[in-house]
């Protein structure tokens, strides 16, 4: 049984570049989010009505979160944090429509964690100056230097594996649950009518897709903000 991301097609450059489910679904999510953004931003009015209310609610919530977690002087990060949060939430929840979540691929989560890693050290070095930033690894005692370095390297590993592990755990359990339910339907001779698969998996979806998906994306975003904020302070 293979739970990996299937290769959908290959482009014959550089000796055949494979394009997996992850990449194609990410394209679709990106296109949908960009399309919705363009549609909703078309007629902004001073007194918001309808959908604009919801959009303003979301933007205000994200701005407040960034201001609280990172401090008011770092509001420049709010667009990236907002994008990351919305993309991760949508990516984790697509399991609800029967599509394999792109975050169930370690390549995707590691890419996002690598982004956080690069941002942490780049902005930390930019704010404190390269020498000052490197010196801060030898605090509070110089003998802590190797442990601080390993700690910093462990951050993207644990960020990526936490998100990957939670989502792939959900994928595996949902696959096994659906196969088990179809086996039960088969046993009572109702193979063509997937009755058991109609209502029972709702609770599994509610926990693994919605609850775990939203919570894990929130944790990823909070940890990103905390790491960047602490590197810059």
């Amino acid at each position: 049984m293979d739970f990996g991301s299937r290769i959908l097609f290959e482009i014959p450059i550089f000796g055949g570049m494979p394009f997996t489910e992850t990449i194609v679904i990410t394209w679709i999510i990106g296109a949908v989010l960009v399309g919705l953004s363009i549609i909703f931003v078309r007629n902004f009015e001073n007194v918001p009505k309808g959908v604009q209310n919801v959009i303003e609610l979301i933007v205000e919530a994200i701005n407040d979160l960034v201001a609280q977690t990172m401090g008011k002087d770092k509001m420049g990060f709010a667009p990236y944090i907002g994008t990351l949060f919305i993309f991760l939430t949508v990516a984790n929840i697509v399991g609800l429509i029967g599509v394999r979540p792109p975050t169930a691929d370690l390549n995707m989560t590691f890419a996002l964690a690598a982004l956080t890693f690069v941002m942490t050290h780049y902005f930390g070095a930019k704010r404190k100056g390269l020498g000052g930033y490197l010196k801060s690894f030898a605090e509070p005692i110089p003998v802590m230097l190797p442990m601080n370095i390993v700690g910093e390297l462990a951050n993207p590993v644990s960020l990526s594996f936490r998100l990957f592990g939670n989502i792939i755990g959900g994928v595996v359990i949902m696959t096994l649950a659906y196969q088990g339910l179809s086996a039960v339907s088969g046993m009572i001779g109702l193979e063509a009518f997937p009755i058991f698969q109609a209502g029972i998996p709702i609770f599994l979806h509610a926990y693994f897709d919605i609850f775990a998906g939203v919570l894990q994306s929130f944790i990823f975003v909070m940890l990103t903000m905390v790491f960047i904020g602490m590197a810059m302070d």
């Binding site: 977690t69 462990a154 644990s158 594996f161 990957f164 919570l215 940890l223 905390v226």
Partner: protein, 181 residues
């Protein structure tokens, strides 16, 4: 003399099996051992839940903040269990050792070792859960300081995770970049 003959007899009996049988047997044992790591997050999240209930009891107005901090801390404490589950699932469904060229006994033992290594997650789970419990209690007492408390809690939990990550690295090395073949 008899006892050492017994060990040699046992090893020779093991090596009389098919190569794949040894690897799969080791994987099965390893997958089971890996899930022992569930002890840690269980205890840790229980600590956090207890403190969360206590925090809500003496500050009901800010119950949402306390509950949010408890959930965040518990979700981070869950990481060790998730990493152990990933290793167990890899051993069960995407076994990387079956196709590798090498002695069956060594690869089977590597699979058992990979599973045993994840037991280190118990410490990280309990520790992070303890941090979550103290964070929840603090937010219950002083809800206005929630951002600062949550930042420190996350930082402490990230440091506490490191030995769990070391264990994961050893398990991954044993499974994917096995140095003994």
């Amino acid at each position: 003399m008899e006892s050492s003959n017994f060990i040699i007899d046992f090893l020779e009996w093991l090596m009389s099996f098919e190569r794949d049988a040894l690897i799969l047997a080791g994987s099965a044992i390893g997958a089971g051992f890996a899930m022992i790591a569930g002890i840690g997050p269980g205890i840790g999240q229980g600590l956090a839940a207890g403190k969360g209930a206590e925090a809500v009891s003496y500050n009901q107005k800010n119950a949402k903040k306390s509950t949010l901090v408890m959930l965040l801390g518990s979700a981070v404490a869950e990481t060790s269990g998730i990493l152990a589950l990933v290793v167990a699932l890899i051993l069960l469904f995407m076994n990387p050792l079956v196709g590798v060229e090498g002695t069956g006994l060594v690869l089977g033992a590597s699979a058992i070792g990979a599973g045993l290594s994840m037991i280190a997650g118990i410490g990280a789970g309990i520790g992070q859960g303890y941090a979550a419990s103290k964070g929840t209690e603090a937010v219950g007492k002083r809800p206005k300081l929630q951002p600062a408390i949550v930042r420190t809690m996350f930082l402490g939990q990230a440091v506490a995770q490191t030995t769990g990550i070391y264990a994961l690295i050893v398990a991954l090395v044993l499974m994917f970049i096995n140095p003994f073949v």
